[in-house]
Amino acid sequence: MAGFDKRVSSLEEAMAGIESGMTVIAGGFGLCGIPENLIGEIQRRGVKDLSVYSNNCGVDGFGLGLLLEDRQISTIYASYVGENALFEQQMLEGDIEVVLTPQGTLAEKMRAGGAGIPAFYTATGYGTPIGEGKEVREFNGRHYILEESVVGDFAIVKGWKADRYGNVVYRDTARNFNPLAATAGKITVVEVEEIVEPGELTPDQVHTPGIYVDRIIQGSFEKRIEKRTVHQG
């Protein structure tokens, strides 16, 4: 059954093959559900000129923010760049190209890329700078713009549990972009908190079927909280 055993035992093996100039699709929303250790491995390798698709770009010194420090990212497709001073600075200074992309369009670009849909129409962004230069078409009296999908050389994903076949479940809102990213990588690498035996995940409850996943690695996670808000009383 070696052919379906997708477990790898080192981060080096997990990110083997990543090279400068590649496109990387990353799961996570803010600092929630981000592939911390895979990002760390990309930093360690020092590959440059990456194109990254990710909703956010981490914070200074954590998450994808690490790759900004070493100027490893040349272009990022993201919906939100707030809360990251270095990011804002690199953007304003033109060191990094930021393609601001509406969050739902970003999610759908990944999903469609994984699903063999090269392009789709959405009303999101019509009449705004996001729609400029894009084809506009009317359906049922409403205007939509054409958006193309994306497939990455690598997708880096954070899951909760996985089996060796690469079936993955996510925990709570740490799911976010992860299942979409998982479908959209030529090589999809998933790091999880726990690897379980095949059969432990109920087939009905698998969030990412193993067919999308190439490598699985177990890791430990800091899970930094961006805004700790608590109920008083």
């Binding site: 809102t173 740490a174 799911r175 109920h231």
Partner: protein, 220 residues
């Protein structure tokens, strides 16, 4: 007197209906959750993938895997559902959310909204706002009526890059509640003690003032 942030949230909360699925943006919109009338129930959608957002967690409940779109730690209420970002925006884009409340820098008399960037000054990104304004049929925009320098934010035509075109039809400011109809702001209610004259002064876009403009009433 201009409305406080809390009063603005309370006024918006009156637009809620029993059984509404509601997406609340960051800032004043978030406060609306505190003023849901007792006799109705609404379900909060958070675009990072949570339907049925609950209160903030206690210290013991804090969980880094459970946040809202504002990245705050939250809880899920019984009957909540959690899903991917693609599913979340399927709901939003597909028009399944009943009400969206969000802030803005500018709104104009044609229902255009600008809320995501000030060229050369501030680039935070649009997050989910462009999807929300494109997907919801029912949007309330909350904002101060004018800037600190007295410049109107209710314009003939937005000067900043748009978040959405022709999508806003209700605006609640600290001075008034207005609806946008046929290329004009229609003044529906005034903040307590705020004159129609002041609202006129601070509205750069076309303003229609009905004969009677009631004052908002806040019980306490």
């Amino acid at each position: 007197m201009a409305l406080t942030r809390e009063q603005m949230a309370r006024r918006v909360a009156r637009e809620l209906e029993d059984g509404f699925y509601v997406n609340l943006g960051i800032g004043i919109p978030t406060l609306v959750a505190n003023y849901v009338p007792d006799d109705i129930d609404v379900m909060l959608q958070s675009e990072n993938g949570l339907l049925g957002m609950g209160r903030f967690p206690t210290e013991e409940e804090v969980d880094p895997d459970m946040i809202n779109a504002g990245k705050q730690t939250v809880t899920a209420r019984p009957g909540a559902a959690i899903f991917s970002s693609a599913e979340s925006f399927a709901m939003i884009r597909g028009g399944h959310v009943d009400l969206t409340v969000l802030g803005a820098f500018e709104v104009d008399q044609n229902g255009n909204i600008a809320s995501w960037m000030i060229p050369g000054k501030l680039i935070k990104g649009m997050g989910g706002a462009m999807d929300l304004v494109a997907g919801a049929e029912n949007i309330i925009c909350t904002m101060t009526h004018a800037s600190k320098h007295g410049e109107s934010k209710l314009l003939e035509s937005c000067s900043l890059p748009l978040t959405g075109a022709g999508c806003i039809n209700r605006v609640l400011t600290d001075l008034a509640y207005l609806e946008i109809e046929n290329g004009a702001f229609v003044l529906k209610e005034r903040a307590p003690g705020v004159s129609v004259e002041e609202i006129k002064d601070k509205t750069a876009g076309k303003l229609i003032v009905p004969e009677h403009v009631p004052e908002m009433v806040f019980a306490d």
